[in-house]
């Protein structure tokens, strides 16, 4: 359903590419975790998939369409089908939990409906359902600023689910959460993934989480794909390769 062909992203000409010649295919229903040190290109990789990042060379195809060739309207359409969650949640402050979840519908509605908050009864019900699903039903009317990190990420997940996505992207969604909260977030994601065969691609830097939940692990290093396989194939040797220190590696800050 998704393929990258020789994808290269260079932010500015002097530096090394953030992604170089990445070629891979991801099939429907996979649970992919992307490992790599900070600066390895994980975020850049994720962002090429929903067109937040333009490519220097190569192409990304999603369901047969080339992401970077789409018109603005088509790009919006594409993104509507992809939920995305973030390390810092990126919720809308001053709005309630439920209002935040409802913003997940923005891609499917007209501007005036979004502006005035005109949601159908069905959409409201759906928001309630997803809040239930992520365990925040009793928080529906709280303002999001007052939630804990784990709760905020659950709101982020409910917002993404509100899109009824066929693909879930995560850019280090648990990097600012404690280990047990991280695990519960991953459990939630796996439940959603299994319920609807939701293709899932998530950046993590915790190898144990990746091994526990992923059906496939990718590892990036300096923008290059250095591992692609089943979690059981991720040996200590590969692990060492991904995370080995380099005295002169200025990109890893």
């Amino acid at each position: 359903m998704l393929s990258l062909d020789n994808v290269t992203v260079t932010y500015d000409k002097e530096t090394e590419p953030a992604l170089s010649n990445l070629t891979l295919t991801i099939k429907e229903g996979e649970f992919v975790c992307v490992l790599g040190r900070s600066g390895a290109g994980k975020s850049t990789f994720i962002r090429t998939i929903n067109g937040l990042q333009t490519l220097t060379r190569g192409a990304v195809h999603v369901s047969g369409k080339e992401v970077c060739q789409l018109s603005e309207k088509e790009t919006r359409n594409l993104r509507t089908g992809m939920g995305m969650i973030f390390q810092h949640f990126y919720l809308i402050p001053r709005l309630s939990v439920k209002q935040n979840v409802l913003t997940g519908r923005f891609g499917k509605k007209k501007a005036y409906q979004n502006l005035l908050g005109l949601f159908s009864e069905e959409e409201i019900k759906q928001a309630d359902y997803y809040l239930q699903e992520v365990g925040l039903a009793s928080f529906a009317n709280r303002r999001v600023e007052h939630l804990s990190g784990g709760q905020k990420q659950r709101v982020g997940i409910a917002r993404a689910m509100m899109q009824e996505p066929y693909l879930l992207l995560g850019d280090e969604p648990v990097a600012s959460l404690d280990p047990s909260t991280s695990d519960s977030i991953f459990r939630l994601i796996r439940t959603l993934h299994e319920q609807r065969n939701l293709t899932t691609i998530i950046n993590v830097h915790d190898v144990d989480l990746a091994k526990k939940y992923a059906s496939r692990i990718l590892a990036l290093k300096k923008g290059e794909l250095i591992f692609d396989g089943h979690p059981s194939e991720l040996t200590d040797k590969v692990y060492g390769l991904i995370y080995e220190e380099e005295a002169l590696d200025q990109r890893a800050l």
Binding site: F86, T103, F106, G107, A111, N114, L115
Partner: protein, 253 residues
């Protein structure tokens, strides 16, 4: 001296020259400073007792002043809010549009309210409406600039989240930026309102009605006690508005 760099000496020298030059140009003199007792004498001899019987009439006049300031700045805020999105580098239509809107705003701002006031008093006739228009125009320029700077400084994360939900550019910007900057927008608004009360007084003096006009009439007819009464009411007015602004801001944040 680790905090100070060598370049600082140049800055200090430059500022010192500017201070000296300004002092000369403004005919600053210490001798006159000691003659300020004349001013004090004048105030003591003429500003007392207050003319209490004028208070009801002056309160009525202050209502005009207040209305001019309130309506002028509020309508200005409503217009400045959309304009500021066009005047911010991260949300403008195009580079050219950005510069066009920015420079129109500073053009409007560069005309002092009193100049607008003098023009409108001639073209529209004496009365509060001329003052209202002058305050409105100037504040569109000021608030447009201030809010566009808030927009430029807004955190980009929520904007990214709205993009990945598939929302349109504008809707995404409105939802991700306005809630973030809203408390600051209100702060700016209340400050401008406070300033507008004083401006509305000055405009009253040139024929814009309200308390300013009364003040000027008393001054011209040497009715200094009446003038002092008007000034006291002005002071109370400004303080009350400041307190109300503080309360509103606290409730919003």
């Amino acid at each position: 001296m680790v905090w100070f760099r060598k370049r600082l000496i140049v800055y200090v020298l430059f500022i010192a020259i500017a201070i000296w030059f300004s002092a000369v140009t403004a005919e600053f003199s210490f001798v006159s400073l000691f003659r300020l007792e004349n001013t004090w004498d004048f105030i003591q001899r003429n500003f007392w007792p207050l003319r209490w019987e004028l208070v009801p009439y002056l309160l009525q006049q202050s209502l005009i002043t207040l209305s001019v300031a309130f309506l002028g700045t509020l309508v200005a805020l409503c217009l400045a809010l959309p304009i500021s999105f066009l005047a911010a580098s991260n949300t403008s239509v195009s580079k050219a549009g950005y510069y066009a809107v920015r420079s129109s705003l500073s053009l409007v701002r560069s005309v002092p309210e009193i100049v607008f006031g003098l023009i409108f008093v001639v073209s529209l006739g004496l009365g509060p409406f001329a003052a209202l228009l002058a305050i409105f125009l100037h504040n569109v320029g000021v608030l447009g600039k201030l809010i566009s700077e808030l927009i430029e400084a807004a955190e980009s994360g929520p904007q990214e989240a709205m993009k990945s939900v598939g929302s349109s550019r504008r809707i995404g910007q409105i939802f991700s930026i306005i809630p973030q900057i809203w408390p600051n927008v209100l702060s700016h608004y209340f400050y401008r309102f406070e300033v507008a009360i004083r401006t509305s007084l000055v405009l009253g003096m040139i024929g814009g009605g309200g308390l300013g006009q009364s003040l000027m009439n008393y001054y011209n007819s040497l009715a200094y006690e009446a003038m002092a009464t008007a000034i006291s009411i002005i002071m109370i007015l400004v303080i009350v508005v400041d307190v109300i602004g503080g309360i509103v801001r606290k409730r919003v944040i």
